[in-house]
Symmetry: C2
Subunit: 347 residues, 2 copies
DNA sequence: ATCGCAAATGTAATCGGTTTCATTATGACT
DNA sequence: AGTCATAATGAAACCGATTACATTTGCGAT
């Protein structure tokens, strides 16, 4: 005696409709090749039985999983989750589902060991990597599905990438400060090993070099509120305060502002601050933050589209998405600059 | 001629080791029942071929997917993504992977239609629902895997739940304000249909009733920074300003504070603000926010554990996690209260 | 040596679909 | 009516593992 609550199988539908299982399968996957009469009969039978395909069986036969894996450094970080939202949207439109793995949640002993098991064609049809700190060797085996790098990237891992224009963004930010007359600009960076930090540092260097200025002094942070806050102490301990700070992301900028304001500095009167990313919070910070807008959801969408495109035409494309400066209240003309301007006028 | 790059199958390993496929399978899944000699031979063959099991085949045979689906209302919201991080951690320890679906990204025409396809045993072994606004009927069919509700819940959907103690949290927040002498307390709520809003409103009502005070006036928000900011205008338009506001979450509180400060009000001197959730940003807000701490990662972990426990002992448990008040700088004694205290002394 | 039981291993069924290939039905054209 | 191409359908192979069941092996007890 069979469990009456058992899910109906394609065989049950076929029997009820008086056709073969092959026909039922065709009605479901390619209705155009089956006659009107039988199609209707099958659809009726599907309706009556409440049949839904068993995806495990279908996937096994079709040798595809119907899912894409996203590797994120920190799932709890809104920066990444917004990219994920973009990825998710594109995947759903294609009927694919999104698997998420937090790369920092691995066994601390061997961070990559647990990951390798997930980098397998039988787990996911593709991988979107949002963590630039991974070992490229992880992806270097036959069983690894197609990979797209997004946002961050991995040196030594060839393949398509979708990136924001970090260098231009940083350059625009610094040029904005230079235009306001700032000359003593400090760069609050992300971890120096991080690819984002590196390309943003390049933008900073380019802007300063173009203005004939020496490289900016740096404080290294960790992209976190906390590290931004901690940087305020380091900054205030310096002999000569900078007149402006460019921060590699908004979270650090907000942490930094909190620390500076607590120490009695006024923003932007005493010190100008620029961030990067334009997270939603930045508009509502203690002082609305001037920052570089990066369209994260779009970046996610593009990454997913790039991955899907790989199926038909594998090519190691590199897509660089434009960014733009958003000027709010955390930046103002340098006071030195004002003095100079006043002197010029009086002269 | 076979593709030399094709992934090795269990058959290849068996041939190389000179054993049957059954033995190879046993070495991989239950090594103890195979002799030392053959086990080593098989392990060597696995090593040489670089074999890894095909999960689609295994899953089909074992009738399980190896994945859990999380239904979140907004993937980009850090509040949820931190819960996801907790879920993810627990699942990984069990070798399960995490599928994520943003319930608001469905076809706007019929929000639940797209979802139903995902609520299927052949897609996921279990479901963790973080969205209380879904139709309970969605889950009411035989093919739906076991469900655990977390954080929010769905009226009319029986089954295990893991919740923060929203009512107590709200009550503690309001009692804190009452203790500071506030009597004119406004409640900035989430959407009135939201279960979280409702239970927090219950806590607010309980605290006020216990103090013999009438219900608090409300402004309805949407749990977003923007709606919190918008609420500031509505608040300032009122004839009599409240001396304190309890906000249903930190994001609204931060948005509200930004609006109030822009209008020239000082926090906490002119008005006290309490939030809920204790998101990381709250400590770095323009004024460090007094709020109710909710352990989101733990909530996620518990939800995952509850789901796993359902496998062996299905039971509609309800787990309520404690919350605690975190007092920072956004709350201070009511000025009325101070006046009253002064008068009392002088009398 | 023989028996019996347990341990080790092999054979083949099974999971539930999709898809190839063969077969039958349909219909157009001469 | 006969021929042939094409459309519609069915039978069975296949995807790649796990596992029930059968068989063989190993070993101690008699």
């Amino acid at each position: 005696m069979k469990d009456p609550a058992a899910a109906p199988r394609i065989h049950d539908v076929a029997k009820l409709a008086g056709v073969s299982v092959a026909t039922v399968s065709r009605v479901l996957s390619n209705p155009s090749i089956v006659s009107e009469r039988t199609r209707q009969a099958v659809e009726k039978a599907v309706e009556e039985t409440g049949y839904t395909v068993n995806l495990m069986a279908r996937n096994l036969r079709q040798q595809q999983v119907g899912a894409v894996l996203a590797l994120v450094p920190n799932l709890a970080n809104p920066f990444f989750s917004e990219i994920l939202a973009g990825i998710s949207g594109t995947l759903r439109a294609e009927g694919l589902s999104l698997l998420v793995l937090d790369t920092r949640q691995t066994d601390p002993g061997s961070p990559s060991r647990g990951l390798r098991a997930y980098l397998n064609r039988s787990r996911a049809d593709g991988v979107i990597v949002l963590d630039g700190s991974l070992d490229p060797a992880l992806f270097d085996h036959a069983a690894c599905p197609p990979v797209v790098q997004a946002c961050e990237w991995i040196d030594g891992l060839v393949g398509p990438r979708v990136l924001a224009d970090n260098t231009s963004g940083a350059r625009m930010a610094v040029e904005h400060l230079l235009g306001l007359g700032h000359r003593r600009i400090l760069h609050l960076t992300g971890p120096s090993a991080n690819t984002l930090s590196q390309s943003r540092a390049a933008g900073v260097a380019a802007a300063l070099a173009a203005a004939g200025l020496p490289p900016a002094p740096r404080i290294e942070g960790a992209f976190t509120l906390k590290s931004g806050h901690a940087a305020s102490a380091a900054l205030l301990a310096q002999a000569e305060l900078p007149s402006a700070v460019f921060c590699d992301n908004d979270e650090m900028a907000i942490g930094l502002m909190a620390g500076l304001r607590a120490a009695g500095l006024r923003i932007p009167e005493d010190i100008s601050i620029v961030g990067f990313d334009n997270i939603e919070m930045s508009a509502y910070a203690s002082v609305p933050l001037t920052t570089v807008r990066q369209k994260r959801a779009q970046l996610g969408r593009r990454a997913a589209e790039t991955l899907l495109a790989q199926r038909s035409a594998p090519a190691p494309t590199e897509l660089i998405l434009p960014v733009e400066l958003v000027v709010r209240d955390s930046t103002a003309p340098a006071r030195d600059h004002l003095r100079v301007a006043a002197r010029d006028r009086s002269a």
